[in-house]
């Protein structure tokens, strides 16, 4: 049977994608503000190559780039062979579409609705920086020549699950923990032996409007990264508005990470954490693996912050 072999939590922000494009095209490399992030996430890429997932379930939030306020779903699942890149107002970046796997899309829809998650099914989902801002340096593109960002595709298929972080009321932290558990159960009934990685992306501390624009609470980010692997229930019990008060309104996206943690077993361990604050968004990464999922590793962890 298929199995969840690990999970990643990772931040997203338009600038981490644009700065990556700029830095790879520039002979002088990345800007000093952003260099630590691309250095820190190199280890994530190495670990992902060793985890060798066959499929990704990505829990993310759309930023009014696909959905709009005439119909705003609390939870939506992308089911299709391809997911194109959304135009966020500046035109899309030169990146290949995401590849879906309709067997997985249909299976997870059945399983999640069967577990009373009444998802909106999106058959033509356009994906924004919620995924594309970290994907190009966390997964190596295949098929194209080295350094050619437009060639080829991605090494693994994706089922995206979009969570409302736009319109109040937001789903509760407990609901996202339950979503993670339902994803885990749904993966386990998929025929075959696919290795599935669950990724949650959002946060960390940031606020991008109002007079608090640019607030940066690195102690909150480190607290969250330290406690998520072993103290999920305590973090879920903290009101979402408390994360928003301390870390900025967009820190509410940290609740998406609960779905990732809850999709893993109690025995899963953190193998890498990293955290930095380049500009206006707290940037963090956490890689967790189930026992035996990473060949040649014990349960030791490494921290890169």
């Amino acid at each position: 049977m298929a199995a969840v072999i690990g999970g990643i939590g990772i931040s997203h922000t338009p600038s981490m994608g644009l700065e990556y494009d700029r830095g790879t095209a520039n002979p002088d490399g990345f800007s000093p503000r952003w260099q630590p992030w691309y250095d820190g996430t190199r280890r994530v890429q190495e670990l992902l190559e060793r985890l060798a997932p066959d499929h990704l379930v990505v829990v993310y939030n759309d930023h009014l780039n696909h959905f709009d306020l005439d119909n705003y779903p609390t939870l939506a699942i992308g089911v299709g062979a391809r997911f194109r890149q959304a135009d966020e107002g500046w035109g899309p970046r030169e990146l290949p579409d995401l590849e879906g796997d309709t067997r997985w899309g249909l299976h997870l829809t059945e399983e999640l609705v069967g577990r009373e998650f009444d998802l909106t099914v999106s058959q033509d989902l356009a994906i924004d920086h919620g995924v594309f801002s970290w994907l190009p340096y966390v997964f190596r593109q295949t098929g194209g020549r080295a350094g050619d960002r437009t060639g080829g595709g991605w090494p693994v298929t994706v089922t995206p699950i979009a969570v409302n972080m736009v319109r109040q009321p937001l789903p509760t932290a407990n609901r996202l923990r339950s979503l993670g558990r339902a994803i885990r159960a749904g993966v386990a009934t998929f025929p075959g032996d696919d290795r599935v990685l669950v990724i949650a992306t959002g946060g960390m501390s940031h606020q991008i409007s109002g007079a608090r624009f640019g607030m940066a609470n690195e102690d909150l980010d480190r607290y969250f990264l330290r406690n998520l692997p072993g103290h999920l229930d305590e973090l879920v019990s903290i009101p979402v508005r408390e994360y928003m008060r301390l870390g900025g309104t967009e820190a509410a996206e940290l609740t998406l990470w609960f779905a990732m943690r809850a999709a893993l077993s109690d025995r899963a361990a953190a193998v890498y954490t990293f955290q930095t604050f380049p500009a206006i968004t707290g940037c963090g990464a956490l890689v967790m693996a189930e026992p035996g999922a990473l060949p040649g590793t014990g349960s030791g962890s490494e921290a890169g912050s």
């Binding site: 009014l64 991008i208 624009f213 607030m215 909150l220 607290y223 406690n227 309104t249």
Partner: protein, 145 residues
């Protein structure tokens, strides 16, 4: 829950430290009421996700806005690029950002207007560091990892 607010040196003199509350003007929350009030504004702004619509808007702003049924006040806010006023009137930040992109501005323009300073001041001031965690903190894991 108690918190510590320690703002580090280097913060621009014009900007006070971000406070630990969700009140205006620090935070302009996109409430359900604002979502209702901003229906026309957000429809207009989100139409700018299409390159053809961006070109049409730039060619004749007034004519383009009339199609979306914006009020006189909303039309004025768009014309004056009053980013803070647009958010207060029910524009969602992510929608207003499409307008900024279309007219050659970006998130920093919106942020500076919201914070009441110029772009360079805001850029120099970020990250605007604060410190505080929820209390009481969970106990560390037993293995000390």
């Amino acid at each position: 829950m108690h918190t510590i607010n320690s703002v580090q040196a280097g913060q621009a003199a014009e900007l006070t430290a971000p406070s630990f509350d969700l009140d205006e003007p620090g935070t302009i929350e996109f409430t359900a009421q604002r979502a209702l009030a901003g229906r026309a504004l957000n429809r207009f702004a989100l139409s700018l996700r299409s390159p053809a619509c961006r070109a049409e808007f730039l060619a004749d702003e007034a004519a383009y806005l009339r199609r979306f049924g914006l009020s006189d006040e909303e039309t004025r806010l768009v014309g004056e690029r009053d980013w803070t006023g647009l958010l207060r009137a029910g524009g969602h930040l992510q929608a207003v950002l499409k307008l900024a992109a279309t007219v050659g501005e970006d998130l920093w323009s919106i942020g500076a207007h919201n914070a009441g300073c110029d772009r360079d001041t805001l850029i120099a001031a970020t990250p605007r560091r604060v410190s505080g965690v929820p209390a009481p903190a969970p106990a560390p894991p037993p293995d000390g990892a």
